[in-house]
Symmetry: C2
Subunit: 138 residues, 2 copies
DNA sequence: TTATTTACTTGCGTTTTGCAATTGAAATGG
DNA sequence: CCATTTCAATTGCAAAACGCAAGTAAATAA
């Protein structure tokens, strides 16, 4: 309904539809690289996401197959968001973006050790970050 | 003035400020991979960018050091946008995003030959695309 | 000298965002 | 138990961004 040209879509265009807004990538970063899993944790990012925006983005991310919304059995109030393979496969994109930012932002706060590892053994770092994210959510 | 926390900025956050909106990445794609250089060419993207939005984005991209606005000597009406190294260094990001989209969008329109080359000799492909873009704008 | 092309700008209605207050369900404390 | 707190949102509203159509200025073409 919302998209009239489902066939032959440019890959950049598809990516923009899924995570091409100010907040989705911030949420993905926090889930994938900062180990956050709960709504209240995602609220604490220093970029200051508004609660209604966070809720709407998480809903869209679930619809797009990036996260799975689950309740904690021992406390049914609490919800945690599990990353799918589709989301975890964005780790290389996040790292490549970071590489670029480190070069061009003189005030960058990227962890030097992380970027050094990305330069020296990118494949291993990617696998490690994905594995770490997977372990967290079980 | 606009950014109060210039120091210690997350690399993802910096990237979002520079090209984290629906249209900047579309314009960069057209300039870098489709060989467009003129305003009128950028207007023809099938995503349908509005003329005022394109103008405002080009202005911001110039302010952010991604493009340089130049007049054609032989026709002073015409303007062309030259990519800086800062922009050309986003080629790996565009390719990595494309790699992801090709996997997860079943209606992808990515050129298969391009993606095959990216898999087999990524560094050479990146260099070739950057060189091709550089040659176009002189 | 009139028409056309090019690269925008302006005006305006619609949509999205940001902020604050509120809600409802579930757990916790007294 | 019953009141309070926690958690994950939702709602209402003002402000900003966006999308569309029309208009403008400078340069070239006819």
């Amino acid at each position: 309904m919302s998209d009239l040209k489902l066939e032959n879509r440019c890959p950049i265009d598809y990516a923009l539809e899924v995570f091409g807004d100010r907040w989705t990538l911030i949420v993905l970063r926090d889930l994938m690289l900062s180990g956050k899993r709960h709504y209240r944790e995602l609220m604490t990012s220093k970029e200051g996401i508004a609660t209604n925006i966070l809720a709407s983005r998480l809903k869209k991310m679930e619809a797009d197959g990036l996260v799975i919304r689950k309740h904690k059995p021992e406390d049914k109030r609490q919800v945690f968001y599990e990353l799918t393979d589709k989301a975890l496969d964005l780790v290389p994109v996040l790292l490549e973006i970071s590489r670029w930012s480190v070069i061009y932002d003189k005030h960058t706060a990227a962890p030097p050790e992380l970027m050094r590892r990305y330069q020296e053994e990118p494949q291993q770092l990617i696998a490690d970050l994905q594995e770490a994210a997977r372990v967290r959510q079980t």
